[in-house]
Symmetry: C2
Subunit: 627 residues, 2 copies
């Protein structure tokens, strides 16, 4: 016998075995609630709320009396004794679920959840056969029955007459919401309403993700991610823009991303045994450069002062205009962006977290190849972009790798500084260090006085510090005999300085936005962290290195890939599609380089956690305790 | 020295010589006011009103005292003695002006004349150059400056960046109203607002007419008419529909009309020395079959019971989709139709005459290859189509020709029935009989007792009646020695029966519409007659043969080619474009063949003027007087 657990707000049902604790059961189902004590009941991080149903849970002083009244429990200490409805509060736990497994609901407050009004609808019509008493035209007969304002392509009209007569006047219309207007893009005989699919697409500089969505239910039925094939033309957007200016450069980059998307589509289509022609829409989101390259628009002015994109809000177009392999008259829609370095992915993120609805001030930090930051509330939104560089994605780091199996995410250094314990993604042999490891390692090194606050190694602090062939100091994390690559896995001084520059850029962005509106860190009610990398980072370590402001940990939420979450919301709701336009309009872009005192302030961030340690009282305390 | 004469309501200025009477001056300028006494001052038909300015006019008892108070004069008896403003009341005179000469204003009441909001606008923009303080995207920069909701094609976006920079940020946008939405269809460097042309197009079964319109002023700057090249595939719509069902039939018909239109365009473009790419829109109107063939839509169900067209309201499309030789992204828009035999030409006619605005009941009769009738007022509109056949266009008549030079329009038979005086278009040698002559001749024959009321010749009534080689009775109008063709010009008994069937069909249509709403002829406040043929007919004769109801002559107006007038109104005003949609929706189509007692009533119309002569009291009087 199994129990059914309904998880809110992500709205996913799973079946669990009675004797297993909820943390285990959720993990097995692919729903990862962060816990740092491996389910021992000591870290107190896996808090969830039982909304309905009976359960047994072990007593713990990690739950306050007030929390207990609300049925807050530690997932690792709780077993169901009947079907449950549980709520995973993002402010408590740090939920991460692979895209394939969940229908990730937005973090928006309930009152702003949007109604179901998808980009594509199929409608089955039984038409009255014409007679002398009702001999209106074929097309007007359809329109009358539909009773809505709707456009149609002349090519469909040209085939309508034989089509209606051959199908016995029973047809299915596929209606797309193109630029806010209903348009019939397909007429099929009989009732084909069941086969109606759409795609949410996140075009990242490094990674491209698609959700295959059943447009009738809004459910994600498959999901895939892959590297953006453009990687072979450069790691970051600037390199790609420069390449785009070469002969055939733009064409090659466009072809690379179109290929990437088409391959992902083929892959989900094959797995689900559906036809590509049953996919009628793609709702995408991406940064401004990626959007330009996807639509085959020259991006060159994005990198040249004054950094002007050609377009923030792309018109909806036909899939055939881009060579995307779905139904040829399918619609490609894109979440609008704000500026050259704040694209539709960030606008989608604002939509997903709902910060534009709150009266209190929230901060959204998207940590991808670049870092983008949004500060604001329902009245105003400021945003900026930080040249964080791709360090958080493992790029430009000696042993850096993307967040794949075998990537080191976390280390623990023994008190005598002689041994290192490491934790890899998938618990496999270590292959390198990914972004979260790159935050964790310097924090550990600092805590153990192996590096100083400027990021430099303290010689003689540990026998694991050595000088390499390039005469550079480095710290050995994994010896070659234990690594999957047969090479030592190390972190060098330049790696750490690289990381400091990246975290400094992000932190400065947060500071500048706050200064623009005269606010302090304390005025931030909540911080949403999005981006693939963001999902894995440890708040404590991120504060220690000075990436994130020193605020209570329950003020942070990880919202995963909010770009695709936002895109999916737009795919499914006209209100969401209208909302992203509003959000993009409302967002004021702050060009960091022209704010006063920029260079001075930037230099101040190039310390761990910051030149002004008083900005980080909790870190000050740790460092004082340790020293 | 010349005087300036402003003519209302057609709003045309001409210059005239002082010593010439106004009838002569107007005729020389191409404005033809019907007069049957050749300017002798005896027919009293050329009445006009002098609104402003001094003139001298001869006394005549053809002007009543009441008329005199309103400054009504006979044009042929009046000379200007300074600049004048004259009003040509369509209810009095029968105005005919070649399309080239006049900017024909609609007959709509003044309060319903539409504002100028053309299908195409050009807007010149001086954009602020981007800076770090204002580095919004290129496209959004344009949108912000425009301050309107506007769409754009992705292809224009793709070229926008270099375009704006190369043009020094000064560009002209061409904005089309496509399906009610603004869309930028062209971006040009500098200020090109002056070159902005559109075309109003009337696609007739027989004749195709275009107006080249300056979209900045709304003025017609050139106009051309030609035969519809489809004529080689059949004279009437049914023949063409049958041909369309053959292999390549539809393609050939489509090509023929597209060629016809392209030739007309080339012709006006060459005369005006403009470029075809400066023409951005075509607003067309035509009957339902012509519209289908123009848009390359199979028309076959139009001719098959229950007579269902594929579409009444065609979507706006790009000119390149039809192969029309104007700017390739130019827009083709079409006045919507109502049913298989009541097309956009008739809806345009209702718009042009404004009958949908009056509280009183009006009748619109369009006499072309077919006859269409609309009855109604501002609350309701009924319409029907009569299978009048192309007799009124001279087709199927032994000596019938189209209304070209040398066509006999009118005859006078001497009291002793031995001689015939005839009047031809252009006063040239007679070549045949056109539609107006076909009404006039039977009326004269009836008045002189040469035919009886069933249309049969009374043997021995005139020496001009003879039996031809086919043993059929015919009446000789012109002997071969006097004709341009070297052949006798005659009217045969079958010609007359043909004509009777045509006029009967139209009259029955009027009767049926009236019956539907329980009205009598007397309830009709005004009758508008449109169509090329309609312009030339003599009301008196049309009543004698029973084509038109027996009402006072001042209840009739000729409104010329109201299809192209309506199309031009739509080209120039969004209100008009919305209005035609409303009109088409409001018009209830009555299928004549399913109304009760149809055949009986039809048979009753096959008499001159009608089996029930009491429906025609004035004709009864004439016939009684004569006999």
């Amino acid at each position: 016998m199994k129990y059914k657990i309904k998880m809110l707000p992500i709205n996913v049902d799973i079946e669990v075995e009675p004797e297993k604790n909820l943390l285990e059961s959720l993990t097995e189902s692919g729903i990862i609630i962060r816990s740092t004590c491996a389910g021992k009941g000591t870290c107190g991080k896996c808090k969830i709320i039982i909304k309905e149903g009976k359960y047994k849970t072990k007593e713990t002083n990690l739950i306050s009396d007030e929390e207990r009244k609300k049925n807050v429990v530690l997932a690792c200490q709780t077993e169901p004794i009947e079907d449950l409805v549980i709520y995973i509060p993002i402010h408590y736990g740090q939920i991460f679920a692979p895209a394939e497994k969940i229908d990730k609901s937005p973090v928006r407050p309930e009152e702003s959840i949007f109604s179901f009004s998808p980009l594509i609808r199929k409608i089955f019509l039984k038409l009255e056969e014409p007679s002398l008493k009702n001999n209106t035209a074929d097309w007007e007969r359809i329109k009358y029955k539909l009773d809505m304002d709707v456009d149609i392509d002349i090519n469909i009209i040209r085939n309508l007459s034989s089509f209606l007569r051959n199908s016995g006047w029973q047809v299915t219309l596929t209606i797309a919401d193109i630029g806010g207007r209903n348009k019939i893009i397909k007429v099929e005989p009989g009732d084909t309403t069941k086969t109606n699919f759409g795609i949410a697409l996140d075009i990242g500089t490094t990674t491209v993700v698609i959700y295959l969505v059943d447009m009738n239910t809004g459910k994600i039925i498959n999901a895939k991610a892959s590297y953006n094939k453009q990687i072979s033309f450069g790691d970051d957007v600037i390199t790609r823009i420069i390449y785009a200016e070469e002969q055939n450069g733009l064409e090659n980059l466009n072809k690379a991303i179109i290929d990437t998307v088409n391959n992902l589509i083929m892959s989900v289509v094959n797995e689900e045994s559906i036809s590509v022609t049953d996919i009628y829409a793609i709702q995408c989101a991406g940064n401004t450069t990626m959007t330009h390259l996807f639509y085959n628009i020259p991006p060159d002015n994005i990198r040249k002062e004054p950094y002007v994109p050609v377009v923030n809000s792309c018109p909806d177009i036909k899939s055939s205009e881009l060579g995307i392999n779905i139904y040829s008259d399918g619609v490609i829609s894109c979440v609008p962006g704000v500026a050259s370095y704040v694209g539709g992915d960030i606008v989608a993120g604002v939509l997903a977290c709902g910060m534009d609805n709150f009266s209190t001030v929230s901060l959204l930090i998207d940590l991808g190849t670049n870092g983008e930051i949004v500060l604001g509330n329902r009245d105003w939104l400021l945003c900026c972009a930080c040249s964080a560089g791709p360090a958080f994605e493992g790029v430009g780091i000696k042993c850096g790798i993307h967040a794949v199996e075998g990537a080191i995410q976390r280390i623990e250094i023994s008190e005598d500084r002689t041994e290192v314990k490491y934790y890899t993604i998938g618990n496999t042999l270590p292959r390198g260090i990914c972004g979260s490891g790159l935050l964790d390692i310097p924090a550990e090194l600092l805590k153990h006085n192996i590096i100083d606050r400027s990021g430099k190694f303290i010689e003689g602090s540990s026998k694991l510090v050595r000088r390499n062939d390039d005469k550079e100091l480095e710290f050995v994390i994994v010896k070659k005999e234990n690594s999957a690559t047969g090479e030592d896995i190390v972190i060098t001084e330049s790696d750490i300085l690289n990381l400091i520059r990246s975290k400094g850029a992000v932190f400065l962005g947060i500071q500048v936005l706050l200064e623009q509106v005269g606010l302090k860190f304390d005025n931030i009610n909540h911080i949403y962290i999005s981006g693939g990398f963001g999902t894995f980072i440890d708040i404590e370590k991120a504060i220690i290195v000075g990436l994130l402001p020193d605020l209570p940990h329950d003020k942070f939420s990880f919202i995963g890939n909010s770009s695709i979450t936002g895109a999916k919301m737009c795919l499914l709701s006209k209100e969401a599609r209208n909302k992203v336009k509003e959000i993009a309009k409302k967002m004021t872009y702050i060009e960091l380089s022209i704010t006063s005192n920029f260079m001075n302030e930037y230099t101040s961030t190039l310390f761990l956690p910051h030149t002004n340690i008083d900005l980080f009282p909790s870190v000050k305390k740790i460092l004082n305790t340790k020293s």
